[in-house]
Amino acid sequence: MASQGASPSLLFRLHIDGTLLIFLILLMIIGQAILYSASGESDALIQRQAIRLGIAFIVMLLIAQISPDTMCRWSPLLFIIGTIMLIAVLLVGTKVLGAQRWLNLGLFRFQPSEMMKLAVPMMLAAYLSKRHIPPRNKHLFIALIILLLPVVLIAKQPDLGTSLLVSSAGLFVIFMAGVSWHIIFGFIFAGIAFTIPMWLFLMRDYQRQRVLTMLNPDSDPLGSGYHIIQSKIAIGSGGDFGKGWLNGTQSHLEFLPERHTDFIFSVFAEEFGFSGVLILLTVYLLVIFRGIYITMQAQGTFSRLLGSSIILTFLIYIFVNIGMVSGILPVVGVPLPMVSYGGTSIVTLMAGFGILMSIHTHRKLLAH
């Protein structure tokens, strides 16, 4: 195949999409710069994050080599293993900060819910791509069960942020598979109806508290609303051009909690202002558009469904994180993708981009 037509570039032969790669590297650079400031100029933290980025990059590279057909074949197995591990976490998992998310595998600790961010859309894409498109009601019902099982298991850990991301990843697959708008709107109304029992039975007290203070953060300025108020002050005081790199006062005076993880956007907005925010949003937008472009070019239903789900979940990351630190969404633990400090989420994200690159570079070059 490669011998036909103009010989593909080196990057293409390595199964890498150069355009996407440039945007991702740009995000990583911005991330490292702001992390340096948020951590109080800690070299050690930057080094650790650099190592993680390196690992994530290698993971992306490896996954890009696997063809979408192979991924499709392995999806059910991956999903079953992931689900079993989720059950294992609830039974024998390690508790960190009150939530049971980790599985101790002797050598290292593993967070199965992180893997499910990819395994769930893969499973759904594999299932629906082999059925009639758009899916019949029976298939839709089975797909929803496939989705609901891991989401409930993750929500029970409790990990609201991840269960939100996993369920949106799954719903995007179903949406892209062409479910009729009637059904979609039907589910939205049903979802509203479902929220009430979820609020009453499934959510933990601290999650309810978070939602309540989101609706009115000023009601609890020193308790749970404190984070959002301080975060808004940091963002707002950034103004048009910001206070300058390393010069954020709010973020440096310990007013901001979790400065280098979930709340890193506040530091960014304070130091680089609205203009900086627009640049960051633009880079994110470019990543998403490139992703959608890749899926529109994609061959095969599996590739299309999975690719769009991955890129739209990336959108949800951004929207939920920035929405929460700027006070329009409740505080759920969702990191700012590619920028927040932390190991597992960055590996999952880059693995997702690896899949997108694989989709783009494994196309069969047909004569048009």
Binding site: G178, I233, M296, I318
Partner: protein
């Protein structure tokens, strides 16, 4: 036809997918517009409002570390206290060149390499506007010198703090232990919020095992700061809750008597109150000064302590495993009687050696020409080995193992400091499991005189002696007697924890052992007769022991004199007094000390004398003989009345 249908489906699918992709693009744009508008609203439209808030936002919450609980001995003498001390700290943000600054400071005060090393490590870890301690415990002179020069040392501060101090640092190092600066590993396991502002945590001994009680609850202070983070005014304060004070069962005066009696010998002594398991004295020699460790010991001193062949850092009382030798004999004799293997009138003829049936090997008695006709009493008083070779073979190792475990041999004592060895009381099962070998009869023979595989820790031997002395009540040894919480009017007493009761088949058996052990001291041929002084107000019961040292630890350096010294036998002595009303049970082990009666017994004698001097003659005299609990037969299995956790109750 089907092909055509397929193509059509494919085309519909493609169209549908394109439509949905357009929806996705619109969806993305809407979400981004929402974010952009929200941020525009915050950063541009409400900029003035938030900028003002940010300017005024100088209220920060600072932790106030709690004061650590104090530790007292049983008479209220303070063993661990907090003294005010001055710490020199640097805020990196306010300095330009840290290395130059350190050089300037070292010209004024003495800085050790370890101070600088630890400081630099923390600079990496903490945020740049946080003060990082460089030197603890500045002298008054150093405080004065630094204060005068503060104007040319940007970022340097002198802070008054409380530092842990052990007035009896050497005497209590192996009991109280010490606190040290929190290291990275501990940082992960300690509760983060409660340790904000705390620099030290318990590393060893009581300080470590009671860390949760001693530490207390952190308080908070809302302060107004300037833009750089310096405190201008305190707005609000929630006071920390100080840690609980602990009262120990240890009598520091008695501890000092014991240490003095050791002179410069190596070994361990544990004294326990048989009535309740309270630990009265616990000595491991040589010792070291715990105060050295509080603010980081320098490498040279540490290496000296750590590599010394005398091993001062090694807590022999709970970690030292020694062959108990002849001190096991009273326990074996009791086992033989209670298990009906021998009767009170049992006697053997000792020719100076023992042979297993059909074997040529001779197991020697320490007395070459033998003890002649030997009954139970004589076997204990003169420590006849052959009597016990024979008894062990009659009993068998498994019965020995079972009965000895009633006294806690081979088992953790659950003393309330972290880290102890279990010693070893061998059995067939144990050998099969651990050594993957069958048990040889010859091993039973030597186990009969407390040699071979048998190993005890000094605290085990003292506890077993206490259990023997009080008629079979096996307590958990306790160092802490009560906990004084700040809000409580009276301290909460920790109740004695009875682990189990040993069933008594016939009280006469126990009395026989007591009588024989008393004769070890108070008869003409007793091995510890030198303790028998005419003016003694009480009788002592005891047993000497001399344990062979089989091998020398393979250390790097030794000289010949040293080696010879280290091949000498361990001297052991266990005893309780008064013999008919025991108030103290004691075990002494002197490493390479030679004979137990000559070396270990006098030390025990001095401690007993010092402790019993507080009691009147009447208090010493009353007598409680052991009572029968089971009429006949083997003692049934041990009942555990409670778990080994500490139970507290409020008293008063």
């Amino acid at each position: 036809m089907a092909y055509k249908q397929h193509l059509k489906d494919h085309f519909i699918e493609q169209r549908m997918f394109y439509n949905r992709s357009i929806v996705a693009i619109v969806f993305t744009l809407i979400l981004f517009l929402i974010l952009a508008f929200r941020l525009f609203f915050l950063q541009i439209m409400q900029y003035d409002y938030f900028a003002t808030l940010s300017q005024n936002n100088r209220v920060s919450v600072q932790p106030i570390p709690p004061t650590r609980g104090l530790i007292y001995d049983r008479n209220g003498i303070i063993l661990a206290e907090n003294l005010p001390s001055y710490t020199l700290q640097i805020t990196p943000e306010q300095t330009t060149d840290i290395d130059a600054l350190l050089k300037d400071i070292s010209a004024l005060v003495n800085l050790r390499d370890i101070d600088i090393k630890k400081f630099k490590k923390e600079v990496q870890r903490k945020r740049r506007f946080e003060g990082i301690p460089l030197r603890f415990r500045l002298s008054d002179k150093e405080v004065a010198i630094v204060s005068v020069n503060l104007h040319r040392l940007p970022g340097v501060e002198i802070k008054a703090q409380l530092t842990r101090y052990y007035p009896y640092g050497k005497e209590t190092a192996h009991i109280v232990g010490y606190v040290g600066r929190i290291n990275e590993q501990e940082l992960k396991s300690l509760p983060v919020t409660n340790y904000r502002g705390t620099n030290h945590t318990g590393k060893l001994g009581i300080e470590k095992s009671y860390e949760a009680l001693l530490h207390g609850q952190v308080g908070h202070e809302k302060v107004e700061t300037n833009v750089r983070g310096r405190i201008l005014r305190v707005l609000e304060r929630s006071n920390p809750v100080p840690g609980d004070d602990l009262y120990l069962n240890i009598d520091i005066k008695l501890q000092q008597v014991a240490i003095k009696a050791f002179e410069n010998k190596r070994g361990a002594l544990v004294a326990i109150d048989p009535a309740n398991g309270q630990v009265l004295a616990m000595v491991s020699m040589p010792d070291y000064d715990a105060n050295l460790f509080v603010n980081g010991i320098d490498t040279k001193s540490y290496n000296e302590l750590n590599t010394s062949w005398e091993r001062p850092l090694f807590n022999r009382t709970v970690l030292g495993s020694y062959p108990p030798g002849s001190t096991m004999k009273p326990f074996y004799a009791l086992a033989g009687l209670e298990l009906n293997v021998i009767q009170l009138d049992h006697s053997i003829f000792c020719p100076g050696y023992y042979q297993l049936k059909g074997k040529a090997h001779k197991y020697r008695d320490w007395k070459k020409w033998g003890h002649g006709k030997t009954d139970i009493k004589k076997s204990i008083v003169q420590s006849c080995d052959v009597f016990y070779y024979d008894l062990a073979v009659q009993m068998g190792i498994d019965k020995m193992h079972k009965y000895m475990s009633y006294f806690g041999f081979g088992q953790y004592t659950d003393i309330d400091i972290v880290g102890e060895h279990s010693g070893l009381m061998p059995s067939r099962k144990w050998k099969k499991r651990v050594r993957k070998q069958v048990w040889f009869p010859g091993e039973t023979v030597i186990a009969g005189i407390g040699q071979g595989y048998v190993l005890v820790t000094p605290v085990q031997l003292a506890l077993a002696t206490a259990t023997l002395a009080n008629g079979g009540q096996h307590f958990q040894p306790q160092l802490v007697s009560s906990i004084q919480r700040k809000d409580d009017a009276l301290p909460r007493q920790i109740l004695p924890q009875l682990i189990h009761n040993i069933n008594i088949t016939r009280p006469e058996n126990w009395l026989k052992i007591y009588e024989s052990m008393q004769a070890v001291i108070h008869s003409r041929r007793g091995t510890a007769r030198r303790l028998n002084k005419p003016d003694l107000r009480y009788k002592i019961a005891g047993k000497t022991g001399t344990a062979q040292v089989f091998s020398v630890a393979q250390d790097a350096s030794y000289n010949e004199d040293e080696l010879e010294e280290r091949l000498k036998d361990h001297a052991i002595f266990m005893s309780f007094a008064p013999a008919n009303n025991p108030k103290i049970a004691i075990a002494v082990i002197i490493e390479n000390g030679g004979h137990g009666g000559a070396v270990a017994a006098p030390i025990a004698g001095q401690v007993i004398e010092a402790y019993l001097s507080q009691f009147s003659d009447a208090q010493l005299r009353s007598s409680i003989p052991p009572k029968t609990t089971v009429k006949t037969g083997l003692p049934s299995d041990i009942k555990k009345p409670s778990s080994n956790t500490h139970k507290e109750h409020s008293h008063g």
